[in-house]
C-alpha cells in the first residue's frame, strides 16, 4: 500500500464500519452487499481481457450482451446457492446500481427489462395479465423494454403520436406510427436485444381518443429474433456514454395485437370497444416515479461516491508544487483548493444516499396506499421525486466533473473511470424526464401548495415549512 495513503488511514477518528452500515441501511445489508460483490463482481469471467474502450462499437455491444447473459446465469446460481427466490432488489442491485456498473461498465441492454418492463407489468397489469406475463419475464423467456419517448416527443407524454385503434370485429388493437416523429426513440435494449416492449400509444375506440395507454407488443420472433411484420426496428447509434445499453428506435405499420395486450389494471377497453376510465389518470405515473426514485440512489449517489473515492485517494498519493518554499512537494489534498473540489462532494454523496432512503420508504408507503385506493400523497411523491431526480443527477454530473479536474491529466484517461461515470450520469439528467421539465413539474405543485397555505390549509410533510415561513416577508 502506498505509504502516504496508509498514513492518511491512520488519521480518521470514527468507526468506518459504522458509517458503512449506516449508508447500507444496517449491518445485515452491508453483509449482503459484500456477499454479492464477492460472488458477482470478483468473478474472473467478468474481467475484461481488453478494455472495452479499445473495442469497436459492435464488439462493445456484443460484450455487453455476453456479460448480461452471464450475469443472469450467475444470478440463478446465486439463488440456488442461497435457496432464495427472485427479488426485484437483487436485480436492481446487479443491473441498475454499483455492482452492475462494475460488471458491465457501459450499461446493459437488459436493464430496462427489470427496471421498467417488469415493474410496469406489476403496476399496471391485471391479475390475469400479471400471471401470464410476469412468469415469462422473470424466467427470461422473453426480454422486454419500455417504449415511451418518440423521436419528436419527450417528457410531454400527451404529445405522443403513436396510435392504437381498437377493432371490435377482431378484438385487436392496431398500433401505428403515423409520422417519422412518432417513431419510438431511445429505449434501452430496444435496438437488437429485446423481443417484447411495453408501448405507450394514444388509444382510440369508438371514434374517440382516450389518451396514452400501455400495450404489450411482440417485436421479434421468439425463435429467429427477426422483426415481426410491420415492426421497423433498429438501434439509434453511438452516444456520449451508455454505449452498451443498445438504445433503439421502433415504428409500427398497422401492427395488430390482441385486446388482452392492453395493460388494464386501471383503464379498460371492453370487447365491444367500450372504454372504462381509470379511477385516476395519475395512476400511470407509478413506473416513472419508481425509476426516478431508483435513479437518485442507483445512478447519482452511486457514481458520485465512486468518483469522489477515486479523486480523494489519488489526492493523497499525488504530489505537486510546494506550499512552503523548500519543503518539497506535498500531497495535493493539503491544498485548500483541492479540499474544496473534493469534500463538498463527499458530503453530497452522503446527502443523496440519505435522501434516497427517505424517498424510497415514502414510495413504498404511497404505493401501498394506492393499492387501497388512497391517492392523497401521490402528488407530493411525484413532486419530490421529480425535483430530487433533477437535482441529484445534475449535482452528480457536476461533482464527477469536478473530481475529474481534481485528478488532472490522469483523470482525463478513460481508464480513470471518470468518463464512463460522467456519461452515465449526464444521461440520467436527460432520461426519465429532462431535468428542467421535472423542475417545472415540481414548481407547479409548489405554487398550488402556496395557494393552499394562503387559504389556511394544512400542508403535507415536504412542504410543511411553507406554513411556518409564510408570514415572513
Amino acid at each position: 500500500v502506498n505509504e502516504d495513503l496508509q498514513k492518511e488511514r491512520g488519521k480518521g477518528n470514527f468507526n468506518l464500519e459504522e458509517l458503512t452500515n449506516l449508508l447500507d441501511g444496517g449491518a445485515e445489508k452491508t453483509e449482503q452487499r459484500r456477499e454479492l460483490v464477492e460472488f458477482f463482481v470478483k468473478d474472473p469471467d467478468f474481467k475484461d481481457k481488453i478494455p472495452v474502450e479499445y473495442l469497436s462499437y459492435t464488439d462493445r455491444y456484443r460484450e455487453a450482451v455476453r456479460k448480461s447473459c452471464l450475469m443472469f446465469y450467475k444470478i440463478k446460481d446465486y439463488q440456488e446457492k442461497k435457496k432464495s427466490g427472485s427479488s426485484v432488489e437483487l436485480y436492481q442491485a446487479l443491473l441498475g446500481g454499483m455492482l452492475g456498473s462494475a460488471v458491465i461498465k457501459d450499461g446493459t441492454p437488459f436493464a430496462l427489462h427489470y427496471v421498467m418492463f417488469l415493474p410496469t407489468l406489476m403496476g399496471q397489469g391485471t391479475v390475469e395479465q400479471q400471471a401470464y406475463w410476469i412468469g415469462k419475464a422473470w424466467n427470461c423467456q422473453i426480454l422486454g423494454t419500455y417504449a415511451q419517448t418518440e423521436l419528436g416527443h419527450g417528457t410531454y407524454i400527451r404529445g405522443l403520436e403513436t396510435t392504437s385503434h381498437y377493432d371490435p370485429d377482431n378484438e385487436e388493437f392496431i398500433l401505428h406510427s403515423p409520422t417519422l416523429t412518432s417513431y419510438k426513440w431511445w429505449p434501452g435494449g430496444l435496438g437488437h436485444s429485446a423481443n417484447y416492449a411495453i408501448v405507450l400509444a394514444q388509444l382510440h375506440t369508438k371514434g374517440e381518443c382516450h389518451g396514452i395507454h400501455a400495450f404489450i407488443v411482440q417485436l421479434r420472433d421468439e425463435e429467429t429474433h427477426m422483426p415481426l411484420p410491420g415492426i421497423k426496428i433498429g438501434e439509434i447509434g453511438c452516444k456520449l456514454g451508455m454505449n452498451g445499453v443498445n438504445q433503439g428506435y421502433l415504428g409500427f405499420d398497422k401492427v395488430r395485437v390482441p385486446r388482452q395486450n392492453m395493460l388494464m389494471k386501471n383503464a379498460k377497453v371492453l370487447k365491444d370497444g367500450t372504454y372504462v376510465k381509470s379511477p385516476s389518470d395519475k395512476l400511470t405515473y407509478g413506473t416513472m416515479i419508481f425509476v426516478r426514485v431508483a435513479v437518485v440512489r442507483g445512478i447519482a449517489a452511486t457514481y458520485l461516491s465512486k468518483a469522489v473515492t477515486i479523486a480523494t485517494r489519488y489526492s493523497c498519493v499525488r504530489r505537486q508544487s510546494e506550499i512552503r518554499p523548500g519543503e518539497g512537494e506535498p500531497i495535493i489534498i493539503e491544498y485548500r483548493t483541492q479540499q474544496y473540489k473534493l469534500f463538498p462532494w463527499i458530503a453530497a454523496s452522503i446527502a443523496m444516499n440519505i435522501a434516497s432512503t427517505w424517498i424510497w420508504d415514502m414510495y413504498n408507503s404511497v404505493t401501498s396506499e394506492l393499492e387501497q385506493g388512497d391517492l392523497d400523497r401521490l402528488p407530493e411523491l411525484h413532486a419530490i421525486s421529480c425535483v430530487l431526480k433533477a437535482l441529484c443527477t445534475s449535482d452528480a454530473a457536476r461533482g464527477i466533473e469536478e473530481c475529474r479536474k481534481a485528478t488532472g491529466g490522469h483523470g482525463y484517461m478513460t481508464c480513470s473511470a471518470f468518463p464512463a461515470a460522467y456519461g452515465m450520469t449526464t444521461a440520467a439528467e436527460t432520461y426519465e424526464g429532462e431535468n428542467t421539465v421535472l423542475y417545472l413539474q415540481t414548481s407547479r405543485y409548489l405554487m398550488k401548495a402556496w395557494h393552499n397555505v394562503q387559504n389556511g390549509q394544512s400542508m403535507s410533510p415536504t412542504v410543511k415549512y411553507l406554513e411556518r415561513h409564510s408570514e415572513r416577508k
Partner: protein
C-alpha cells in the same frame, strides 16, 4: 433574527429562501394572470424563476434529511461529529453558491457573508483528517471502482503504467501505419 453560524440557522435559511422564491414567483404569476394574460404564457414567461423555486425546495429537502440523520440516537458521538461537519459543509457550500437568493430571502445579510466563508474554510480543515476514512467507508471494491487512480492500495503510477500496456497499439513495437503512411510521408520531402 441576527444570523449565527450553526446548523439550525442554516436549515432555517434554506426554508426561508425556498419559501421566498416560491412566494415571489407565485405572486408574479397570479398578478399577471389577474391582468388578463393567458396563464400558460405567464407560466412560460416566469419559468426560469419557477425552476429556481423548485431547486431551492429540493435543496432544502436534502439539507433537512441530512440534519435528521444527526438526531439518530444510535449513531456514535464520533460519527455524529464527522457527519455533522459534512452536513454543515453541504449546506454552507450550496448557500455560498446561491448567495444572492439567500441575501434576498433569508436573514443572512452582507456583513454575515465573510464569517460564512470562514466557516466553510474551517469545515474543510475539520474534515481533512477524515477524508480517506470517509471514502473508505463507502466500501467500494477495487473491481467496482475500476480505476488505477482510486485503487485501495494507492499504487497509482504502477497501475496507470500497466493500463497503458493494455493499449492495442503497444502490442507491436512498430505499427503498420508506419509502412503504409508515415514512411512515405517522411520521405516525400514536402
Amino acid at each position: 433574527l441576527p444570523w449565527t453560524n450553526d446548523l439550525p440557522s442554516l436549515v432555517s435559511a434554506y426554508y426561508q429562501t425556498a419559501t421566498g422564491l416560491i412566494r415571489d414567483v407565485t405572486e408574479k404569476v397570479d398578478k399577471r394572470v389577474a391582468k388578463g394574460h393567458i396563464p400558460e404564457d405567464v407560466w412560460n414567461y416566469y419559468s426560469n424563476m419557477l425552476v429556481l423555486a423548485a431547486e431551492a425546495h429540493g435543496r432544502a429537502f436534502l439539507v433537512q434529511r441530512f440534519c435528521d440523520i444527526l438526531s439518530n440516537k444510535e449513531i456514535s458521538p464520533s460519527l455524529r461529529n464527522v457527519l455533522g461537519a459534512l452536513c454543515e459543509l453541504y449546506a454552507v457550500y450550496w448557500l455560498l453558491k446561491n448567495l444572492g437568493h439567500f441575501l434576498v430571502h433569508s436573514n443572512i445579510r452582507v456583513p454575515d457573508v465573510e464569517s460564512i466563508m470562514d466557516w466553510q474554510d474551517s469545515l474543510l480543515q475539520e474534515i481533512r483528517p477524515n477524508a480517506v476514512s470517509l471514502v473508505d467507508a463507502f466500501d467500494i471494491a477495487d473491481e467496482i471502482l475500476d480505476s488505477p487512480l482510486g485503487a485501495w492500495d494507492g499504487n497509482v503510477y504502477e497501475r496507470l503504467f500497466n493500463e497503458a500496456q493494455r493499449s492495442p497499439l503497444n502490442s507491436m513495437p512498430v505499427d503498420e501505419s508506419f509502412e503504409k503512411y508515415l514512411k512515405p510521408f517522411l520521405r516525400s520531402n514536402l
